[in-house]
């Protein structure tokens, strides 16, 4: 399997995605915004469609759309124009509707589109990998540097505000990192399923973790495991990797739930 160039690229990109998605997802889950990834993913779908229509690489238009969508959700939330889940619903439906309209206008309802929605192990090129590595590692560095401040905000937003942490900026950073993660992970997991990879490993880790620190560590291990298992199954069974990766994540969740139940 690893003799094949495209599989080596898929595994390298997948490893970065497997680490990054749960690391960012941890903060979404703590802020009780587990579904924000889905909202942003649907906006990214509109971005892919816009890429087809404009004849630009959909990766870039999807990333741009994801960043705008994330900004929109955060803006609605921060101005208390709408409760968190309502802000999400507005962005979510606008994204999917816009995507469908744009896709039809571009006449692009085809197999290639399918690979954006559910991922593909065949499509990661060498230059894709460079982009994924640079953006992914950059995002991880930002997370590592701001870790304590981000944790303080997600534990206690008012407390952090009183203590003088720049709460709106830190919330914006999390949303932007979520958008970036979706843009970076799109080729492997697909925009309709990437949000699951941000959330499932974290929920699984919370079942068995003994602290915040261990939750983050375990989330990353589970995310990586899901991607590696999912890609392998995808290769041998000739299935889209997005589905197999997320189902591997579900299996991890069931395993940790069992461990938790047995401990009681």
């Amino acid at each position: 399997m690893l003799d094949l160039e495209f599989m080596r690229l898929a595994f390298a990109a997948g490893a970065i995605v497997g680490v990054l998605a749960p690391a960012v997802g941890f903060f979404l889950v703590q802020r009780e915004m587990s579904l924000i990834g889905d909202g942003i993913g649907h906006v990214a779908f509109a971005g892919v469609a816009a890429g087809y229509l404009l004849g630009i690489s959909p990766v870039w238009t999807a990333l741009a759309a994801a960043l705008i969508g994330a900004g929109g959700i955060e803006w609605l939330r921060a101005r208390r124009q709408a409760a968190g889940d309502q802000a999400l619903a507005i962005v979510f439906y606008t994204g999917i509707a816009g995507g469908v309209v744009l896709i039809s206008a571009a006449g692009a309802l085809n197999a290639n589109l399918f690979s954006y929605l559910f991922g593909s192990i065949l499509t990661v090129t060498g230059s894709d990998l460079v982009v994924i590595a640079v953006l992914g590692i950059g995002a991880l560095v930002v997370l590592a540097v701001l870790m304590r401040a981000l944790i303080a905000v997600s534990l206690d937003e008012d407390g952090a505000r009183v203590a003088g942490l720049p709460v709106p900026v830190l919330n914006g950073v999390i949303s932007m990192l979520a958008a970036l993660t979706i843009g970076v992970s799109m080729r492997i997991v697909g925009i309709l399923l990437i949000a699951a990879l941000m959330v499932l490993p974290v929920i699984a880790a919370q079942r068995v973790a003994w602290s915040l620190r261990s939750t983050i560590g375990l989330s990353i291990c589970f995310g990586l495991l899901s991607v590696l298992v999912g890609l392998t199954v995808s290769y041998y069974a000739n299935l889209p990797p997005g589905g197999t990766i997320v189902l591997a994540g579900t299996a991890v969740f069931l395993a940790t739930s069992t461990v938790e139940a047995l401990r009681r």
């Binding site: 008012d158 407390g159 973790a209």
Partner: protein
């Protein structure tokens, strides 16, 4: 003494709602220990949120250490425990991790240093939670959780400590310990304390000033001068 907090002719309502506070004037000098009481919905929590710059008054001015509260800079001077906090109870945070978050504004990036760790351990010690520091918050009782949140408010060594009903669900022994702790912080370190509660048993002996809030400030003075008229069930007076 310079003023730690000043509210000047403050009115407040949430959005288009009814008046919550009307014409509130309050001056708290540095080093004062002020208890705030009043009925449910009287506006105590709102008063604290205004004082901390979390809400914007509809009319009037709020100053923290002489600066506008909304844009006050030296915020690490403030320790705040919100009412009915549930910090980290849904996350798998340990007691120590919650208290460490109290140092985050002082050291937002980079590793925690030795003095940060020392401050965290000291705060845990002060509230008697040292032994339980490694436990997940969600596995502790409500009173133990509350003590962890108090430790978080203490971790940055604040010079203004704002506590909104910190003794909710805390047993009498721990209330007395908290009262003694606040007294020590006040006496030894000159910490300014704003303390909202319905039960002043624990701090009764220590507070010099009681403020009763019922939309307006209806009493402001030493607890001993509280007119019988204002005795209400929300204020148990030993």
């Amino acid at each position: 003494m310079p003023l730690a907090l000043e509210l000047d002719g403050v009115d407040f309502a949430y959005g288009q709602g009814p008046a919550v506070l009307t014409d509130v004037d309050l001056r708290v000098a540095e080093g004062e220990f002020v208890a705030i009481a009043g009925p449910n919905g009287g506006g105590k929590t709102t008063l604290l949120r205004l004082a901390l710059g979390l809400e914007r008054p509809t009319r009037g001015a709020v100053l923290l250490f002489g600066e506008a509260a909304r844009t006050f800079g030296a915020r690490t001077k403030i320790g705040y425990l919100a009412q009915r906090t549930k910090i980290g109870v849904h996350a798998p945070a340990t007691v120590r991790e919650v208290v460490e978050a109290g140092r985050a504004a002082l050291r937002p990036v980079g590793r925690l240093r030795r003095d940060d760790h020392a401050a965290v351990e000291e705060a845990l010690e002060r509230v008697g939670m040292h032994e339980l520091a490694g436990r997940r918050l969600s596995t502790l009782s409500g009173g133990q959780q509350q003590r962890a949140f108090i430790a978080k408010a203490l971790a940055a060594h604040p010079s203004l400590l704002v506590l909104d009903e910190p003794t909710t669900g805390v047993d009498v022994a721990a209330q007395d310990a908290l009262g003694a702790l606040l007294h020590r912080l006040h006496e030894e370190l000159g910490v300014t304390i704003l303390y909202v509660s319905h039960e002043f048993g624990a701090v009764e002996r220590f507070v010099q000033r009681l403020v009763l809030v019922r939309e307006r400030i209806v009493f402001d003075g030493p607890p001993s001068q509280l007119p019988g008229l204002w005795h209400d069930p929300s204020h148990t007076h030993a």
